[in-house]
């Protein structure tokens, strides 16, 4: 089409995604509150979404599929957070806690 190339370098977009993913990972591994752990996981999913959308526009073979996939991801994320939070509520009701370290019934 002769249009000018997208001015933001692909690498920068991917780097943002990678950094967000690592932040989310760190949070998921270290935070003690179960809600925050779930939130961190959402953050990781989001980072993946950024990559999907980036590649849909800037990849080797640009296509709308990337965007469609990101939509699916969001749906799954929504389902996940809904079930996750429901579990959390049930757990809180049972154990009066929402801390990850208390969920250790499988300890050796």
């Amino acid at each position: 089409m002769g249009a000018a190339p997208f001015p933001v370098p692909t690498g920068s977009l991917l780097a943002l995604g990678a950094l967000l993913f690592c932040i989310g990972l760190f949070g998921a591994l270290t935070k003690r509150n179960l809600i925050i752990v779930l939130v961190s996981i959402e953050l990781m999913l989001n980072a993946a979404n950024i990559n999907l959308v980036t590649f849909s526009r800037l990849g080797v073979a640009p296509s709308l599929s990337g965007q469609v996939f990101s939509l699916f991801t969001m749906t799954v994320a929504a389902a996940e957070i809904a079930v996750g939070l429901a579990l959390l509520l049930a757990l809180f009701r049972l154990r009066k806690t929402s801390e990850v370290k208390d969920l250790n019934i499988h300890k050796w």
């Binding site: 591994l29 969920l103 050796w108």
Partner: protein
């Protein structure tokens, strides 16, 4: 007649089965009666066979049955009656019959009287079957069977710890020799493809024995020595002699039958039976002669000082068996067998007489007896006959056979062995008359034992008398009187009509050995009958030799320490290795496994974040590998 030879061992077997069926509660009279009668029938049969074989020396004497196939080889069983075998049949059945009769009195009121007769019948069957075995395999089978019977009978009074130990010892010590014999038989089979005597002898004659890894001469010497090992064990020759004295823990009739007249002579019989094999190897015959001579001398030296009447006679047996071995070793085939026969009579007699004494005074210690001549005249005079025979005093049986052996030794060019034999003969005369004087003459040493001493019933006296007769006259079976009939009878087994040395009469030598015997008796009389000088004093003067003799050259102690102790140490080491090293390694492996498991267990802390951290690391590693191996990253 010869084809019925199987009946001879079969009748005692019938008696055995019959007694087995009768059980443990059978009446003594019935048990003993059946045994005596059947054995007596066997004896009569044996006499007929003896005569038949003599009349028709080259007739068919072999009967074969098929037993087992190994590859393309066939093991046969059957029986064969050579002149040697026929003689053995007669001797064994005669002594057995008399011992059966004697036991009726001796074992009277024993709890297990029928069992005793069961065992004895089984023994007689095995012994007779051994004697007429067709081949070495069959001989080995019955060889072990008589060993088993010996074990059972030595341990007959199982509740006595000494009897239990003695039974075990007798079996194991003979087993050592038997194992060698087993190997010898196997090697002969490999070399000739047969266990049959005839095949083996013809192979020896043709020098065609051959095993892949051993030459003809090697096979002959090796197998002869291995078979001799069996004979050494069974005949209680040095160095496997230690079991025989202990075996005296068994009832005295057992000692008379098994440990004097028959089973222990089986070793001599074995060497005689395989005589051509031994003759083919100088090394083997020399070994046999020396072992025999050493045993004869050593045993007679030990017998000088023993206090137990049965042990003295046991050592005497050992010594006499040594003579027989020496005879076979120097090639005096006929005289070894001749002595075997005479010895069977006079030694059975001595044992039974000793049994009669023990039965009367209820002790075996010579120094608790004395003066029994007045109370037990029959026993005294029969014992005297046996003692004179043993001492080799003319004209008693032992004189003829022993003197033949000594002459043959000298004649075959073994002066050293001759002197061994002569010294042993002196000792023999001394110790047996030491026993005689201590037991039957002088004053009673323990009054109460003397008080209730009495002669046994006729069942005990009759065998003594019969045996005394034989001990007196048996020597004439091979004497100028019948032109050395036995010698000629035995030589008929050999195609050449003769075997080994044939003794030429030498009156000087005869007189000399009789003089030696008389000297021994004189010394014994001086010390124990009419104490001219105190035996005590002499004992003190010779205290060190006395102790060596009294403690039997310390063989028991040495064996106990070196062999039994060594074996136990090895066993303990093996057990230790097994429990702590081999099983220890196994336990170590399982411990390592469990340590790893425990370590891994602690990673399961139940924290989701720990698990996901580990998973993240895993992913990181995979990403890193993927990224860096693609290249161009760094």
């Amino acid at each position: 007649m010869v084809q019925y030879a199987w009946l001879v061992p079969f009748l005692p077997l019938v008696a055995y089965v019959f007694l087995l069926v009768l059980g443990r509660k059978a009446a003594e009279g019935l048990v003993a009666g059946v045994s005596v009668i059947l054995t007596a029938v066997s004896f009569v049969l044996s006499l007929f066979i003896f005569q038949a074989v003599g009349n028709n020396p080259h007739g068919n004497n072999t009967y074969v049955f098929h037993w087992l196939t190994v590859g393309n080889r066939v093991f046969d069983v059957g029986f064969q009656v050579t002149h040697l075998n026929a003689l053995m049949l007669v001797v064994v059945t005669l002594v057995s019959t008399l011992v059966f009769l004697f036991s009726k009195g001796y074992m009277h009121k024993d709890d297990r009287f029928p069992v005793f007769y069961q065992y004895l019948n089984l023994f007689v069957f095995s012994m007779l079957a051994l004697v007429i075995s067709l081949n070495l395999l069959q001989l080995y089978i019955f060889w072990e069977m008589v060993g088993l019977c010996s074990y059972l009978l030595v341990g007959f009074w199982y509740f006595k710890p000494e009897a239990a130990l003695a039974a075990k010892k007798s079996f194991i010590v003979t087993r050592i020799g038997d194992t060698g014999m087993f190997a010898g038989i196997v090697l002969l089979f490999l070399a000739t493809g047969s266990f049959d005597y005839s095949t083996i002898f013809s192979a020896v004659a043709h020098g065609t024995l051959h095993i892949g890894w051993l030459s003809n001469n090697g096979v002959i010497t090796l197998t002869a020595l291995l078979i001799f090992a069996g004979a050494v064990g069974k005949s209680a020759q040095f160095p496997l002699h230690v079991w025989l004295p202990d075996a005296m823990e068994g009832p005295t009739p057992v000692s008379a039958l098994i440990h004097a007249a028959t089973m222990v002579a089986a070793g001599v019989y074995l060497v005689a039976r395989t005589f051509p094999l031994f003759q083919a190897s100088t090394g083997a015959t020399t070994t046999v002669a020396w072992i025999g001579a050493i045993t004869a001398l050593m045993a007679s030296l030990i017998a000088l000082t023993q206090r137990d009447i049965k042990r003295v006679i046991a050592y005497s047996t050992m010594s006499q068996l040594g003579y027989m071995m020496m005879a076979l070793g120097v090639g005096a085939y006929a005289y070894g067998i001749f002595h075997l026969m005479t010895h069977a009579f006079f030694k059975a007699l001595l044992f039974l007489a000793a049994g009669s004494v023990i039965h009367a005074v209820d002790t075996q210690d010579l120094f608790e007896m004395g003066g029994l001549r007045k109370k037990m005249p029959v026993t005294t005079y029969t014992f005297l006959a046996g003692a004179l025979a043993l001492a080799g005093i003319v004209p008693f049986a032992g004189f003829w056979s022993k003197d033949d052996i000594l002459s043959a030794t000298l004649q075959s060019g073994h002066p050293v062995l001759y002197w061994f034999g002569l010294i042993a003969a002196f000792c023999t005369a001394f110790y047996i008359f030491r026993v005689f004087f201590l037991t039957f003459t002088g004053k009673p040493r323990v009054e109460e034992k003397y008080e209730h001493a009495h002669e046994g019933s006729w069942v005990m006296k009759l065998p003594l008398v019969v045996l005394a007769v034989f001990a007196t006259i048996a020597g004439f079976f091979n004497s100028p009187v019948n032109h050395y009939g036995l010698e000629r009878y035995l030589f008929a087994d050999f195609a050449s009509g003769t075997a080994g040395v044939v003794v030429k009469e030498n009156v000087g030598l005869m007189a000399f050995s009789v003089a030696v015997g008389l000297l021994g008796i004189l010394l014994a009389a001086l010390m124990y009958w009419r104490p001219a000088f105190g035996g005590e004093k002499l004992s003190k003067a010779l205290s060190i030799p006395y102790i060596i003799s009294f403690r039997k050259f310390f063989f028991d102690e040495i064996y106990t320490f070196v062999i039994v102790g060594g074996g136990k140490v090895i066993a303990a080491i093996v057990d230790f290795v097994d429990r702590y090293i081999i099983d220890g390694i196994v336990s170590l492996l399982s411990w390592i496994g469990s340590v790893f498991g425990t370590m891994l267990k602690y990673t399961q802390d139940g924290q989701v974040q720990t698990y996901s951290a580990i998973a993240a690391f895993g992913v990181l590693i995979f990403i890193a590998i993927a990224v860096f191996t693609v290249g161009g990253v760094l």
